[in-house]
Symmetry: D2
Subunit: 423 residues, 4 copies
């Protein structure tokens, strides 16, 4: 691929959209980012240089990783980078230092797609235009294809320019499930950052509107609990069994009583439960996946601790063992005034954009909080900005799509933000 | 009171019936037994001589004991014996040694009444005949008034006679709730006993029929669980509370799943639950009383242990503390063939009685098991015999009554049993 | 009693404090209010004239009402008014029409006390000063004694004055438990009211500060559920029973899962649960009392309906019957700007008071909402104002007390409000 | 295939063992039976002639049936019979009338295998001898391969012989899960039967021992419950959801309390539970499979009805819908003395066998009860006999195997039984 002074952000988004990859298996996507950054003259780091393996949460098992790597190869992943990304280490960072001294500005883009089967009818634009997912059952249904394309187009725009300070572009795996950011933060890659910008498209904000900050993104904890009891013939000698399904059901019931005792706004969901093998066997195993949410990390932590106690208590009473694994988690997202104002001001200068001072209210969760808190702990500041992008259907649904007019405008906006910060 | 060669068993039963006393507060009843035994020339032991305080279960609190003692005095308790019985030590034993050497035969009679309000209409014989309970809310609704009267009439019948061996008559407190026998057994009073006979009237067997043994009496454990959480205003800040009522309810639900995992025939009942003070207060306290039952002590113990785990697990998950106290318990009742056959044979010789070889099947519980197992552990044998006694209403109901024709026949029967054993 | 041009509000509060009465049994308190209003020349209405019996919630049973009426007589209730108040119809209203035409202004004061045992040590001012509760176990622990005294002192202050319009003073029973206001509203007594003022002392606001409005008072529903199953011997034949305690426990567990599915801010509390009679009896009866709360009436109603379904569902599955009775309830309290501003403005003119424009945030509940919504439905407006009153201990606690300096200031404030409204 | 005067029962069992098929998909097995019976000169009926489609329980969906039919073809199923068996109608009957008049004797053999993966190591005889399952994940792990082989060897033995009466051989699908016998019984095929013999190998009885009857086989009901709620984003608006997983968990907890209220010996097992799709989605669907068991059909029916109420109650309280389908069921198995004695007597005459008069005690379940009750309702009699067969591992386990010496002895036994009955 020839060096590029400009990247067609729409074309790149469409390419990424056609090759969606789940969290920690973004082999093709991350290799693509690394190749382009390298071609554009950025210093590139990848894998263990920019993330800590043990700080990841909810990493798929080895066979799933291997299968995904093979699929990435089939889909044309750049082989030169795959070794660095092996084993689910799919973060990439590009750094570009200006010739003049100045602050460090970082921008974070997430790479991963979702286990959603994309709509297949011609009314869905990616189908009509020929860039729908080529990975059955997987889909960029949250717009991260757009995020990555914007980040790489910004890399092309900034390449060869001079400024007072340093720019870092972070391409992060596994935002879905709140699994990847903690590992990137732990690498120290943002410890010298003065200003961090984390972007999201859409979130119900129409194309043309930009919010410099968000409010209401909840802290969250994701847990998986595996119960192991003892099988027995349910008719002949149930007393020889230890019923893992019953333990899980009692835990579910106990869990749902907890939110109001954790604090205002706390929430809990047991998303999946699978248990048992046969009608006449006392179930030996049960597995459930759950999450807590709360307006602040302390309340979420209190609810998470109570949830662990409920899981353990239910199991113990039935002679069942339970293992609890944290498979995801995020702090609440807090935004600093300075960076938020810088975004709003920059938006005002970009054609087609309107900047809003007030934060956009949302009640989802985001693992960007790990990066923002890390930056803040080292004296920096940051924000989570929303670039409006009208969609025909909600995030995470089969008919989700991006209004592609938002993409070049977002590149313009971020370029203005960086230039303002490093002028 | 003048020495007696014969006691009118019906008159004595009516006197006892009029003055019912609950378990460990049988001050008047036990003092009456002690006085009569003494007057009849038996060696009398009472209180700490024949029971171990710390082995009692479910002893009422001090103020209840004191109140009951005062009531006993009002009802004419023999003051000379009250000191020995103080503090709920209401067991009495009488011993009579024959001049010739021989085995030791013991007979056990229980003293306590029930918290049942006796029927008040003239259709109820004790009302019509003027011997209904004079203690409101208390009633001899299980026939222990008859048991005690039979024991004392037997004492009169045996007084002054000679035989080859020794007779012990045990008057035991707190059979209801399975609370007293363990303490009597622990005193060692039956360690030298060769044959132990424990009698019960009625149990659905009609007047005139005698079973020398029983089958099916279940092992049982009685528990009281006290939950203590933390009160809080339910509207303003439920998160400041720890909900004891909820913990108790979750425990109740968890408990009811346990029987089939303990073993065939296991049963569990939460008999009472009281929790909370006000509608808008997160409940700080809850108290429940429960029992387990099973065909054998091992299954009952397994269920009891699982129940404790369920209580603890439910409390722990909600930040609530729980104290669990065993307030009663019994082994399953096993009967030995020799004593059972002796009863059946003796019955055949008493006018108006028919002895049955096969055991009477019942599915209640009895703490006589403690005494029988203790005797057995020291090389003796014993049985639990049923003397039929038709009643107009079931045991433990307000209209329960004894067919008094059964009483003198029972005295005759036991006299024959003792004479046969010590001939 | 001689006509009064001025009432000593502190002395009257102390008298009322000494004679606390529970909701719907405020016989002495209401009669006192009626007598004083009459003596002061107000038109007085009481009982069925100002409340609808069938709209009351949680009315005590007849024997409790009769006992309370007897106690009121012992405590010197004015016999002339007791007939009107009989049967728990303890509302009183005084009306005073100015000679000039003008709007109708109403003020509401609540009469009832709480089942709290007042602190007995001399460190508690009512003890030291000799006006502590003379009704053991009952206490004015929420300040309604102060409210009533203020209302009556205001009656004296306005008596004989002229103004353009009409003043109504409403003395309402059974605010605690949210049981009385609906019945007063249903009488139509506020249908012609243009401005309604409902006052509360304290609520954490210090003496001297006045808020013209409140925010955050929650809608609430209070329910009592009575389960009736079938008793059976738990050891002999549990299958003959229908377990009311178990049904109640399952309902409690199911209920606690509901809040997060009703809507943001919804809450639920089962405050009391009482079930069962004996350890070895399958419990025939269980009774629980519970409440829901929510920021708006629609969410509260949704939660209330779900709660009824959970109660019914748990009972039905066990062959247990359940009766559910609503024993209290309130809409969320909304305050109108005009009356709120009038209070704040008036406070600014009373010596020792500071008026606050912003509402006082609270998260309790109040049945004043019934009256405010009724006024609003007929075209009027109203507010719920808080007159600061420092207390040594929280509302509803044994050491709660009023800072009596707040009382005359409150009378001044309300007089100013009325004069401003009817000038 | 050439006509056969004798079938090698061991070779045929091995062939059947290598081609296991699940209930209602025994296409190859049933076709094999039909072909052999036909070749031996028996009148053959199959499919709708000998079973009623609508009386089957737990029939697999159409795609599973189609797939299984294709597999049967791959495994060499006799094409001529597949049309009759299509759609899961896999019952076959052979009838042979003697020339002399006499009673009708029927013998029932079950055809189906289990979803068990057979042990693969050479220590397992079918592996060593080369007849292990050729259908991965399926295995004859209960010995029905032996039953079918015995039935067909018996057909060969009786072919061409004369006797006074008629013999019917019934090859029944889907005994596992108690799904097939009701449909066979409903066809009327046994309405004229005077004596019915249902055989099982093994059940813990060693090779050489024969019990003419069984006791303790439990009545059972198998249910599948499908909950459908409403999905919603668990973080953003849980109140828009109706939680099917929670409803299922509450049902599981409620279900486990029911057995002791149904009657002595009642049991319940929820064998599998699957619910939910994603961590952050309020689960829309849940599916559970459960069974009840009891010593008699009335207790089992009472427990089944209570279970349905618990499922419905839990769902209703959460706004979730539930569909409950019965997927299997059986009456308790009762054996008649006459046929049982005939078996024991016949066993005494077969070399290598010992006949036992007392029934073999077991606590599993069997759908043979449907056939036995149908025969009994029409004036006939029957028994369920056990032919001992030592196995290295329990029924339904991967290492289960038959001691093949039991097979020819069983053929001898049944031949003797038939001859005795029709002499």
């Amino acid at each position: 691929m020839a060096p590029l002074s400009e990247i067609d952000v729409v074309a790149l988004r469409r390419e990424l959209h056609a090759h969606p990859e789940l969290g920690f298996t973004e082999f093709r996507s991350a290799a693509r980012a690394a190749s382009l950054l390298e071609a554009l003259g950025w210093d590139v780091a990848a894998g263990a240089e920019v993330m800590v393996a043990s700080e990841r949460m909810g990493v798929p098992p080895d066979d799933v990783l291997a299968e995904a790597l093979a699929a990435a190869r089939e889909h044309g992943a750049d082989e030169r980078w795959l070794r660095a990304l092996d084993g689910g280490m799919t973060a990439v960072a590009g750094t570009l230092a200006g010739r003049r001294p100045g602050p460090v500005v970082a921008l974070r883009f997430d790479l991963d797609a979702l286990p959603v089967a994309e709509a297949a009818d011609p009314g869905h634009v990616p189908v009509r235009e020929g860039f729908a997912s080529r990975r059955p059952g997987l889909m960029h249904a949250c717009g991260h294809d757009g995020h990555t394309a914007i980040g790489l187009a910004l890399a092309a725009r900034l390449a060869g320019r001079d400024f007072a300070g340093t720019v870092k572009l972070l391409f992060q795996p596994a935002e879905e499930g709140l699994r990847g950011a903690r590992a990137v933060a732990a690498s120290g890659i943002v410890d010298d950052v003065d200003e961090l910008y984390c972007l999201h498209l859409g979130l119900g904000v129409p194309t043309g509107v930009v919010h410099g900050a968000v409010s209401g993104l909840l802290a969250s904890t994701k847990l998986r609990a595996s119960f192991r009891g003892r099988a027995a013939h349910a008719g002949v000698e149930p007393e020889a069994g230890a019923n893992a399904l019953l333990a899980a059901a009692q835990a579910v019931v106990a869990l749902h009583a907890l939110p109001q005792y954790a604090g205002p706004g706390a929430r809990l969901n047991v998303g999946t439960l699978h248990a048992g093998t046969g009608l006449n066997i006392v179930p030996e195993r049960a597995e459930l996946a759950m999450e807590t949410r709360a307006p602040d990390a302390a309340t979420d932590a209190r609810l998470g601790a109570a949830a662990r106690a409920a899981l353990t208590g239910a199991a113990g009473a039935l002679g069942v063992e339970v293992e609890i694994e944290q498979v995801g988690g995020a702090d609440a997202v807090r935004c600093d005034d300075g960076p938020a104002a810088r975004v709003a001001a920059a938006a005002a200068r970009v054609r087609g954009l309107t900047g809003r001072a007030e934060p956009h209210a949302d009640s989802g969760s985001e693992d960007a909080g790990w990066l923002l808190e890390r930056v803040r702990a080292h004296g920096g500041a940051g924000t989570y900005l929303v670039v409006g992008c009208t969609s025909p259907s909600g995030h995470h649904t089969p008919r989700f799509d991006l209004d592609e007019r938002a993409l070049p405008a977002a590149v313009d906006l971020l370029e203005a933000v960086v230039r303002d910060a490093l002028r």
